[in-house]
């Protein structure tokens, strides 16, 4: 299948990319392209202009920044998964990156592209929400703003990014306490039927869910129960609270809610064990 015709421009710099993005009403950014190109091939997405930011190598990095680790938006899943810094300082991020797609996808797909796509079924958003990560957006004139992960995902494939903004950096707090990213899927290559990110930090445990609503969801009921002293088994009973998972070819909403309880318990046992 061939995408509908489009114009193509390669951004030479971040500013250039933002200019190009503003030059056409339905321009789209192309990073790795692994979220966008499949949609274009079935012609569900038909941008008039593709702005290729894949060569902006200065947006590909993982570096220490005080009590955070800063990840450039164009860092590939493969590099996130294999980053020594992340493995030691925020291992859940590396662990989740390794569970995305397959090796070929991880060799091309980028963390920024995946996060900006705001697919509630993809893995990294829930991890970032659980970690209370910060997402840095850059707009015209180089203006940057920082958006809390919990505010970034605003709906199904919708984010807080303005049309002429580019997600440039993901800042995750160092979290070396127990953690778990559990993903239930039938095939390794499948999207998560349900995913659970649990991370312990400074005595509290944060839990977020993949594919349990139109965006990654914080499992507040579970966290509240844990804060009140509940054990994983008791706390996980509240995993489905406030969720509205889809019913689709992969599973019903009812099943997903039950799975969420089981997976939250297992993730908590792993993170707190």
């Amino acid at each position: 299948m061939i995408p509908a015709p489009f114009d193509y421009a390669r951004a030479e710099s971040l500013d250039h990319a933002i200019d190009l993005l503003g030059s056409s009403e339905d321009a789209k950014l192309l990073a790795g392209g692994h979220s966008l190109l499949p949609l274009m091939k079935v012609r569900l997405a038909r941008p008039s202009l593709l702005v290729d930011i894949g060569r902006l190598s200065d947006l590909s990095y993982v570096r220490e920044d005080g009590d955070h680790v800063a990840i450039g938006a164009l860092t590939r899943h493969h590099d996130v998964a294999n980053s020594e810094l992340l493995r030691t300082s925020v291992p859940i991020v590396a662990d989740a990156a390794e569970q995305i797609g397959d090796p070929q996808v991880r060799h091309v797909g980028t963390i920024g592209g995946s996060v900006a796509h705001a697919d509630p079924a993809s893995d990294m958003p829930a991890v970032l929400v659980a970690l209370e990560a910060e997402l840095v957006a850059t707009g015209p004139g180089g203006a940057t703003r920082t958006i809390a992960a919990g505010d970034f995902f605003t709906g199904l494939f919708e984010s807080a990014l303005a049309p002429n903004e580019v997600l440039t950096e993901i800042r995750v707090p160092k979290t070396t306490g127990g953690y778990s990213y559990l993903k239930f899927h039938r095939r390794a290559i499948d999207w998560a039927l349900v995913g659970v990110a649990a991370a312990r930090s400074n005595g509290s445990v944060h839990v977020a869910l993949t594919n349990m609503g139109d965006r990654p969801l914080r499992a507040s009921g579970v966290e509240e129960a844990l804060a009140g002293g509940a054990d994983p088994a008791a706390a996980s009973a509240r995993a489905a609270e406030g969720t509205s998972p889809p019913s689709d070819a992969f599973g019903s909403a009812e099943y997903r809610q039950e799975l969420a309880k089981v997976l939250v318990r297992r993730a908590l046992e792993e993170a707190m064990g």
């Binding site: 299948m1 061939i2 995408p3 509908a4 015709p5 489009f6 114009d7 193509y8 390669r10 192309l30 392209g33 692994h34 190109l37 499949p38 274009m40 091939k41 079935v42 593709l50 290729d52 894949g54 493969h78 797609g101 397959d102 090796p103 070929q104 996808v105 060799h107 091309v108 095939r187 390794a188 290559i189």
Partner: protein, 158 residues
């Protein structure tokens, strides 16, 4: 049209193509390298796997323009001077193929896998093939072939 210049199997190849040209069709139709196959539309099956700067990628989910200025290696370059690559030898020795359609993608995925991890366990090989589907072999002999190749390659370099 977009001008792309790609080093394919060590040779510099250039062409003006429609921006929407996918890398796999650039290889197959512009360059006539038909060894790389297309099995799906959804980046699922891995039949189109080639190496981009030495790493496995799905060439159906990349624009030719994204490969501009980079190195692409396809199945056609795996044998040299008529000698099969150890992976190709191992696939033959272990009956790692039947209809052959997924085979180029499997071999390129395996090449990338072994480059990253020369001595994988069976489980690591299976995980490394999570993005490649085969309908004929049941995977067993593919996995066996890759483990066999890993053995012969590490033996050769030891």
């Amino acid at each position: 049209m977009t001008h792309v210049s790609v080093t394919v199997n060590g040779e510099s190849r250039e062409a003006d193509v429609e921006p929407r040209t996918l890398l796999v069709y650039f290889l197959r139709e512009t360059l006539g390298l038909t060894g790389t196959n297309v099995g799906c539309d959804t980046s699922t099956c891995g039949s189109c796997t080639v190496l981009l700067d030495g790493e496995s990628v799905k060439s159906c989910t990349l624009l030719a323009a994204q490969a501009d200025g980079r190195q692409v290696t396809t199945i056609e370059a795996m044998a040299s001077n008529g000698d099969l690559h150890p992976l190709q030898e191992a696939f033959r020795r272990n009956h790692g193929l039947q209809c052959g359609y997924c085979t180029p993608g499997m071999i390129m995925a395996a090449k990338s896998l072994l480059d990253e991890n020369p001595n994988p366990t069976e489980e690591q090989v299976r995980e490394g093939l999570e993005g490649n589907l085969c309908r004929c072999t049941g995977y067993q002999n593919i996995v066996k072939s890759i483990l066999d190749a890993a053995g012969s390659m590490s033996g050769a370099s030891a």
